[in-house]
């Protein structure tokens, strides 16, 4: 159930269920002063977008049928329509109603963000990666617009969203290939943009990334491709390295094709080889950038199963070896079938912000019209061709 931005009294026990269970994405980030946070009235106060103040014993005058869909910011913006009226009411000395103080806004994000409840349903696991009010623009094109997102440890997470919404940009922020214009990106609690080069290069070894087309080095056969990180980052003898490499290649079903070069492989084989290379250093965070693109449905399903199996194995390994952080696998995809089959946690992103996030089962039952439409792959709903 989405967050209902209706003002309530402090001792009101009849709070919406989501207020008890849902966590705002910025919670725990230690940046409460900088970002939008709900006050005790249920209103969101965003220091960047002006401030709202209400009297204790008043209730917002929002039509009930619209409050269901309104996001945390929406009350403010919706109020802006009523603000003049409210102000008139206050100045008339009625003493009732809502007094709203608001900076004039250049654009009204009413329509753009009306489905973005930003609700984060808790998993109980700490986040391996956190985006905190992250903004990123390329020229005039604003990609991330205050993204608050977490990828929990020990789960297969998914970042879902329409094309061009900033999903791949998220991956590049996580590994420090791009830096946010504003906000922060934390990996295991450490801020990526504030890392020096050597620290950053070290931090990246926590990651394994499967790029869309595998990104294998064309000058090496696939065994050398998979062995490359081990040869460069470890002092293991070549015999041990080849043992690890062959095991990983067997896992992805490429044991017999070790001497092939990337240009001799099909798209699916390149992805699997890329997967083997991503896993070879036992990373605690594995990112998959559209692992299903260009694959037929059967290969997509098999790849999904493979991801689940390897996540399971890595979890067992992590427990046995007592890793400080449980492995977090994250997939970026448009494919709803993959999401249904593989994901344990889903972030739905649109227009550079989270619409909703939470455990997959709960999100598939969400009341949010946008989430419903997207997860059902339906043509009717808030998301159109534009």
């Amino acid at each position: 159930m989405p967050f209902i931005p209706k003002r309530r009294g402090r001792d009101d026990d009849d709070r919406p269920e989501t207020e008890d269970t849902a966590v705002h994405p910025t919670a725990g980030s230690g940046r409460k002063d900088d970002v939008a946070v709900p006050d005790d009235t249920g209103l969101f106060v965003d220091p960047d977008e002006g401030r709202a103040s209400t009297t204790d014993d008043t209730e917002l005058d929002l039509p009930d049928d619209r409050t269901e869909d309104v996001d945390q910011r929406a009350p403010l913006t919706r109020l802006s329509g009523n603000a003049e009226e409210s102000r008139r009411e206050s100045s008339a000395g009625t003493g009732g109603g809502v007094s709203v103080v608001r900076e004039p806004q250049a654009e009204d994000p009413d329509d753009e963000y009306q489905w973005h409840t930003g609700i984060r349903r808790p998993t109980g696991n700490p986040d391996a990666v956190e985006f905190v009010e992250t903004h990123k623009a390329f020229g005039r094109n604003k990609i991330l617009r205050g993204l608050n997102m977490g990828l929990p440890e020990g789960m297969i997470s998914m970042i879902l969203g329409p094309s061009g919404t900033g999903k791949s940009v998220c991956i590049k922020h996580m590994v420090g290939l791009l830096y946010p214009d504003d906000g922060d990106v934390l990996v295991h609690g450490e801020s990526v943009p504030s890392m020096g080069l050597d620290h950053l290069l070290g931090m990246r070894q926590k990651f394994g990334v499967l790029f869309q087309d595998g990104a294998l080095f064309g000058s090496m056969n696939i065994r050398d491709n998979v062995a490359f990180p081990l040869r460069q980052h470890t002092d293991k003898p070549d015999k041990d390295i080849l043992e690890i490499v062959d095991r990983r290649m067997d896992e992805v079903g490429l044991g017999a094709a070790w001497d092939k070069f990337p240009n001799e492989l099909s798209g699916g084989m390149r992805k699997r080889a890329g997967f083997a290379r991503a896993l070879v250093l036992d990373p605690s965070i594995v990112l998959f950038d559209e692992p299903d693109s260009g694959l037929d449905p059967v290969r997509t399903a098999l790849l999904g199963e493979l991801i689940q199996e390897i996540h399971q194995e890595t979890m067992e390994d992590a427990r046995e070896k007592n890793w400080p952080h449980m492995p977090a696998f994250t997939l970026i995809t448009h494919d709803i079938m993959t999401a249904r089959r593989v994901s344990q946690f889903i972030n739905v992103v649109w227009k550079g912000r989270i619409v909703e996030s939470g455990p997959a089962d709960e999100l598939f039952d969400s009341d949010n019209a946008f989430v419903n439409q997207f997860l059902a792959g339906a043509s009717r709903g808030p998301l159109g061709m534009n």
């Binding site: 590994v175 990246r204 790029f211 087309d213 990104a215 980052h233």
Partner: protein
């Protein structure tokens, strides 16, 4: 008016960016950080030797033939065919061998680097290197610069030999107005070891700039295959301009004030 000012501003910005990028690569080589990837540098050196040596020597050989022909016919026309070696010595060592070397480096090695790094960029291989925890500039660019410094001085000196041999063939064997001994006496009289060193400095400056320009355009390529093509073309233009600029400045610097010719005692 502001639109007119934008272009030089962009140009200056690009030059500054390129200079910064080049300084970073040079710093990585001078600080010996590049030795972390010595294996890759040696591999690149091998690639350079196997793929570019013959073509560079071939071009320089042809240029040597031309220098010999021009020298032989010019000195014949003024009645001093015995001095064909003067023309050949200067033409080969000071000017045309460095230029031919620079052209072929730009066409073969420079564009090769842009195409290779550009393709790696658009197929996300450079991103993959970065996320595996490698400094991609160090791995891709500094290793190429070190490889070129390891290989090219020897390749260039051998290329000069090819040019000299070609001029000898033309003047002595083809045109035949001067004996072998007479030609070689004059030929060696009009050059000495510092000239060889200066010529080498000229050529290595060209090679360094070509590798750095290639790395800059390749590493920063964007816009898919078309973008890589555009970057390759741009790098070629910049490299040809730089080759001529270095050639001119080198001649001015090394031989402008003192032609180092044993004329008039």
């Amino acid at each position: 008016m502001s639109a007119w000012l934008e272009q030089p501003k962009d140009l200056l910005a690009n030059v500054g960016e390129g200079a910064k990028f080049s300084a970073k690569i040079m710093g990585q080589v001078y600080s010996l950080r590049v030795l972390r990837f010595l294996g890759e540098a040696l591999r690149q050196a091998g690639v350079l030797i196997t793929s570019s040596t013959v073509v560079i020597w071939g071009l320089v050989f042809i240029i040597g033939l031309q220098c010999g022909l021009e020298g032989a016919y010019f000195t014949r026309s003024i009645g001093s065919p015995a001095y064909a070696g003067v023309f050949a010595a200067w033409c080969d060592l000071r000017e045309l061998v460095p230029y031919a070397f620079g052209y072929m480096m730009a066409a073969k090695v420079g564009t090769g680097i842009v195409a290779e790094l550009g393709s790696m960029r658009i197929s996300e291989e450079i991103d993959a290197l970065e996320v595996m925890g490698f400094d991609s500039v160090l791995f891709l660019c500094a290793t190429r610069l070190l490889a070129s410094w390891l290989v090219l001085p020897f390749m260039y000196v051998a290329a000069i030999g090819a040019g000299f041999f070609a001029s000898y063939l033309t003047v002595v064997e083809q045109v035949g107005d001067v004996s072998s001994g007479g030609y070689l006496l004059i030929f060696w009289m009009f050059q000495n070891p510092p000239d060889l060193l200066y010529s080498l400095i000229k050529a290595m400056s060209m090679a360094t700039v070509i590798v750095l320009v290639g790395c800059y355009y390749g590493y920063n390529a964007n816009g898919g295959p078309v973008g890589v093509g555009t970057a390759t073309a741009k790098s070629m233009v910049v490299n040809l301009i730089m080759v001529h600029l270095i050639g001119m400045l080198g001649t001015q610097l090394f031989w402008g004030a003192n032609p180092r010719a044993p004329i008039g005692g």
